[in-house]
Structure formats: C-alpha cells, structure tokens
Amino acid sequence: MKLNYRIAIFAVAIIFGIFFSVPSLFQTQDGKKVNLGLDLQGGLHMLLGVKTQEATKSRIKSIAAGIKHFSERKDILLDALSFDENSVNFSLLDIDDLKSIQEYLVEIEGLDVTLSGENISLALTQEEILKTEKLAIDQAIETIRNRLDQFGLAEPVVARQGEEKILVQLAGIKTQEEEQRARELISRAAKLELMAVDEDRVARVYSMSNADAAAYGDIILDDAENAEIKYLVREIPILDGGMLTDASVGFDQNNRPVINFKLNAEGAEIFGDFTGRSVGKRLAIVLDGKVYSAPNINERIGGGSGQISGNYTVTGAKDLAIALRSGALLAPIYLMEKRSVGPSLGADSIKASMIALVGGFVLVIIFMMVYYKLAGIVANIALIANLFIILAVMSLFGATLTLPGMAGIVLTVGMAVDANVIISERIRELIYEGVSIHKAIEDGYANAMRAILDANITTLIAAVVLYAYGTGAIKGFAITISIGILASMLTAILGTHGIYQMLESKIQKSKNNRLWFGIKG
C-alpha cells in the first residue's frame, strides 16, 4: 500500500462530506442544515405585485391634505381644492396669499406648479412619479417583512424578484387558518385615516350618489361592521397612519379587544388643532376605507392618542396592531403567483423520491459490483462519497433541496457512475492489450479524462444556464446537478484513481484480473 496525494485529497473530501452532512442527516441542534423546499415540507410561496399607480394617487392625496391643513392654520381662504389621479387644483380667494402658499409648495419635492391668475395646479414630475413607485415597492417589501417577522413563523423569506415583484415564502405553515391569517396580514393595506364627518350634509347621505358627494368634496364610506350604515366624510383626511408611532392591543370597558394608537408630535398637533376647532362634530376613524367608529368630539384632544374599536377577536386585533405598527402599504399588492403545498403532500413527495433515489442507487450499486467486481466496489465508494459531499456542500451553503433537486441527485448518481464506467472500460481495454497494470491504470485514466471532462463541462454549461434562467424549484435542480458534477470529478476521477494507485502493488501481485476488473485473464 502506498499513499499518494490523490488518496489524501479524497480522504479529506470524505471527512468533509461526512462531517458537514451529519447535521442534515440527523437533524442535530447545531450546525448548518439543508433547507427543504416548500414542495417537500409544505408551505406557501407567493409572488406579489404592487399596484404602483395607487402610490402616486395617495401621494397626490396627501399633498392635498397638507395644503388644506396649511391653509387652515394660516387662515388662507382656498376655493375648490380638489385632486384627481395626477394633479391637485385650487384657487386663491385672495391673491395676496400667493407668496405664502408658494413658500409652502417650494418645500414639497418633485412638484410641478402651474399658475394662471389665482388658479394653481400642481402635478408630480415624471421623476417624482418613478421615485414614488420605486418607494412603494421598497416600502412594501420592508413592511411585509416587518409584519411577517412579528407573525411568529420561523424564517419567513421576503425578497425582491426582478424589478417590481416581491417573493414571499413561508415554510412551515401547517393549517389553512394559519395560511389565511398570513395572507391577510401581508395584504392588509392598514391605512389608517382620521376623517371629518360632513355634519352639514350627512343627514342626506342615503339619498346621495358618489358623484353628488364628490361635488361637495366628500366621499361616502361604509361602516365596518354593517355595510348598511353609511357616513359622509370630507374626502381629504385630517391625517393618516403615516404619523402613527405605536399601536397595541387593549380592552375597552366591555372587555372587548381594541387597538390603541399613538401619533407622533406633528400628528398630535394636527389632531389637537382639528378637535379644538370641531367640538360637537364627529370624527370618523377609517381603516382601509371602512369607518370603524365615529365618536363625537367633546373637547380638544391633545396628547395624540386614539382608539379603534371594532368587532375583533384577540388574534384579529393583534394582527391588526402588527399591521398598523409596521406601517401602511403605500400601494395595494396583488397576487401574481401562488403555490401552496400541504404538509402531507410534501411528506408524500419526500417518501416517493426517497424510494426512487434509494431504489435507483441500490440497483446501480449492485450492477456495478456484479459487472466490475472490485473495480465496481471502488466506483461505489466514490458514488457514496459523492452523495455525502453533495449533502455537505448544500448544507454549508444553506441551499434548498426541492423535488426536482432530488431528481437532480438521482441523475448525478447516473452520471458519476458513467465516469467510472468509462474509466473501467479503458483499463480493461488496456489490460487486453497486454500492458502492465501500472500502465493500464495510468493510461486508462489519461485516455478517459478528456471525454469525461468534456462531457461534464457541457452538462455544467446546461446547468448554469438553467440556474440563471430558472425559478424556484428548477434552480434547485440546477444546483444539485452542478454540485454533483463537481463532486463527481473529485470522487469518481481523482478519488478512484487514488485508490488504484494505493492498491497497485496488490493488484499486480494478485494477478487476478477477474477479481479486480471483472475480466478473464
């Protein structure tokens, strides 16, 4: 027996493979493990889009609200303050106020101001629109991540995919109820608005159309619990949830869960000003376009805190508080792709692919042993080492094992065997030609090497393309194939060569080619 550098590297590779695959194999507490894909462990995969044009709309709306608040503070009289999809329009009753309103408008970024006499028209610049849309996506990712982090599932994945898609992956969702809760939490706009009830006209709300309301600068909103009840409120809100600093679950006097919220200093000031001015009127607390309550304002409310009461369960209130705390979505999100796999299906898939993997593996191993005798065993050692190394590398990188990934491993087994078949056939050929064992082994490897390398590299090219262009599960396939090919070069080529070199003198002494290579003579 003679040690050589090949066998040394091979031994190191085997130790590496076993050491780092132990955490995955035995699911130990510590150490990096292979992640099971959603198709294998069950879970929810969603690709979400953002309706970015809505973000621009709400930006316009908040500019309008700002102007309204500013003019009320400065006692500037405005006429016909209105807004549509892309612009805010109003006119000044007193042209002398132009200077102070202009000073205010200059502070707002990305605004195109058009003046014609006392009429002022505001629109967002193209650049600002793009910025707003980008912000909406960034903010949606951030918000969804915040919400899911507080939801209590292990390692939720929230990531940007491409320019404007959001990938959400929730492993370990076990029940339908849990999935429903998660989806509601993610998609909830959580847009809190405090709005003034239009007390002059609210009595006529049931006979008004949306267009009638719009003509007065009002909108009609439904009650959250009973859609029959309607409110007429001023379209431009007093303030919105952007000024919220905290939201938590509390209980009212009837011990029903409510949500207490706090406003920041600016919000508290606006809120105080408004309530001071509107004693005797009602304030509508609006969440996602529905009126949750409309209490009477009895006095000026300072301090900037308020309460949302509704018909909540404790879980519902908790989820809503999470959503409010994480901030509103600037724009609504919609579903582009959803894949949800129940845990039992995942378990079935693991079982089926394990049967296929083990079955195929055992068949190949037996076949190699029968056909090549000891040479087959050498190949089989390489094959088993290969599996360990694949698992180890995947564990180290925290890669995800998917169902196609399992298929990739099965396929790698086939390809790794191929390398050893090619080598063994070459060695047999050379032995038939009557060369020495040493020369047969060395030339056999040299001759086989070119073909194996070329074949592996071309497959690797295909795998890399698959990785670059594939999504989700397919990426998993490309990963296992790539790792498998690289590992097989180490085990099936280098490793087996090392074993032969180590055993060379034994093989020569035994002169039993039948035992060693499965051939006569």
């Binding site: 993610i186 579903l335 692919s353 298929a407 086939g414």
Partner: protein
C-alpha cells in the same frame, strides 16, 4: 462480467441511411404532432389555477362536478384524476389576483358534503408570470445550445459542434413529440427534463466523438467511416452500460416517483432512449456527410505540432541565450 464486450467492429455507418430515414420519420411526425395536436401547456406556462384534492376514499368526481357547477367561479374548470383514484386536480384557466380570497378555501366550501377530503395543493400562476416563465424557458434552451455549440467547436471542430447540435434538436423534437402524443402537461419540470436530456444526450455524443477524435488523430486510416465504426464499437460497452444504469434510475423514478414527478420522469425516459440512439446513428453520420476531412485534419494537427515544436525551439534558444 463482460456481457457487453464487442470484439467485432460493427458497420454502423453502413446502416446509417436506414437510421436517418427512421430519424427523419420520427422527427417529422413529431413536428406534425406539435403542429396539429400541439403541446398541452400546464399552469406554469399558460397561467391558471390548480387545486389538488385528496379524498379518504375514491374521489366522487361526478358529485364534485355537480357541486362545482353551483359556484360561477368554477365555470370552465375541469376535474381529472391525479395518480390514483382518490386524488384529483381541478384545473382552471382563470386566476385571481386577490391575496385575501383563496381559491383553496372556496373549493373547500363548495365541495362540502362530497366526503372526507383535504386540499393538498393550490397553484395560481398569473398570466404575466406564465408568459415570463415561457420566455425564460425557451431562452434557457437556446442559450444552453449556444453555449454547448461554442464549447464543442472550441474543443473539437465546428463540424462536430454542428453534428451534436443536430443530434440535440433531433432528441428534443422527438421528446416533445412524445409529450404531445401522450398529452402530458408541460410545466417547469418538463423543461428541466428537456434540459437534462440536452445534457445527457450531449454527454453520450461527446464520449463517442472523443473516441472518433482519438481514432482520427492516432490511426493512419484516412477512411472516416471506418474510424467512426471502430470508435463507436469501442465505446459501445460503455454506451450500453451507462444507458442501462441511467435507464434503471430513471425508470425507478418513473415507476415509484409518484404522480408529481411523473411528467419529468417520462420525458427523461424518452430522452435516455433517443439520446443513446442519436449519439450513434445521428451525430456520427452527420459528421461523415459534412465532409469531415481526415487528411486535412491530420495536416492541421501536423502544422500545430510543428508550430509547437518551433515555439519550443525558440524558447530553448532564448533560455540558453542564443537569440
């Protein structure tokens, strides 16, 4: 054991005409199938919705149909068995973009009273995503081929590269034809299988080409068809062995892998058979017909060797300071 030891050189190229006729017939009928029957794009590429349901006992499909008719959401949906009689999938062309309203829940509600069941999988692929996946799919097939073409042309010679690409197109076409014939749903997994065929078939072709390259380089025989016959014969043991082991593996996947991997395994099964055949009977004859000139190749090799020798001499001179 040496079942697959071949001592006599087979005249593969003598049979190549027959093989080519067979190939042309197969490829053409695949094209006809693709043009007439077409491919059955699954949700991944066409967009749509899939709900997979497993019952405790045999799924009451007729009952289910009746129930689904009561909800307009399910208009135009189809129900079919999935793998076994107690598991079914409901397919719809429509998708909903609403995050909070779940088709799985709606299905569960609608099917109430049809027995004990569990909704095991809900796949919704919006039209935009479907289009994108299809684009990326075609792109990945083409890119992989171009990458391979460049590599093989660089390592061998352009005629080898073109011949291997022809073999690949041959294999992919026939595999697609077979998929169309049995009416499999074409989803991402089938794409992965096609790319695997690409790799596998190429693997086979390259092993044979490597021998041909070796034969051409080493032997004085300038008759290419003889060299090809010899090379194929010498790799035949390996070809049979590897094809058989791969076939075993894929076959177990096909038999025991379950319904969800069925399309993948079927595609591979076809690919393994066709890929092995094409490396012998498609790629090699094309090499012959493209007029790969052995003498010319020898000359090129000789010139290359001469250049190398010249370089070597220069270096030796330089190192000994004669320059």
């Amino acid at each position: 054991m040496e079942f697959f030891k071949y001592t006599r050189t087979f005249n593969f190229m003598g049979r190549s005409k027959l093989a080519i006729i067979l190939s042309i017939v197969l490829v053409l009928s695949s094209f006809v199938l693709l043009a007439t029957k077409g491919l059955n794009y699954g949700v991944d590429f066409a967009g749509g919705t899939i709900v997979q349901i497993k019952y405790d006992t045999t799924a009451p499909i007729d009952d289910m149909r009746e129930k689904l008719k009561t909800n307009p959401i399910f208009e135009g949906s189809s129900i079919s068995e999935f793998g076994s009689s107690d598991e079914v999938v409901i397919r719809m062309k429509t998708t909903s973009g609403d995050v909070t309203v779940d088709i799985g829940d709606i299905t569960r509600e609608t099917l109430k009273g049809t027995g004990n069941y569990e909704v095991r999988r809900v796949d919704i692929v919006g039209p935009k995503v479907g289009d994108e996946l299809r684009e990326k799919g075609i792109m990945s097939l083409l890119l992989a081929m171009v990458g391979i073409l460049i590599y093989v042309a660089f390592r061998f010679e352009w005629r080898f590269a073109v011949a291997s690409i022809f073999a690949l197109i041959h294999d992919i076409s026939i595999a697609l034809g077979a998929i169309s014939l049995v009416g499999l749903d074409v989803n991402l997994d089938v794409l992965a299988a096609l790319l695997t065929i690409l790799g596998y078939s190429l693997n086979d072709t390259i092993i044979v080409f490597d021998r041909i390259r070796e034969g051409v380089t080493n032997s004085r025989n300038t008759e290419l068809s003889e060299t090809i016959n010899e090379s194929i014969t010498r790799t035949l043991a390996r070809t049979t062995l590897t094809s058989l082991t791969t076939f075993f593996v894929v076959f177990t996947l096909f038999m025991f892998g379950g319904e969800i991997i069925h399309a993948f395994a079927f595609t591979l099964l076809v690919g393994v058979v066709v890929g092995t055949y094409s490396s012998i009977f498609v790629a090699s004859p094309i090499l012959l017909w493209f007029g790969f000139d052995v003498k010319n190749y020898h000359n090129k090799l000789a010139q290359k060797a001469k250049r190398e020798a010249e370089k070597e001499r220069m270096r030796a001179q330089y190192e000994s300071g004669v320059m």
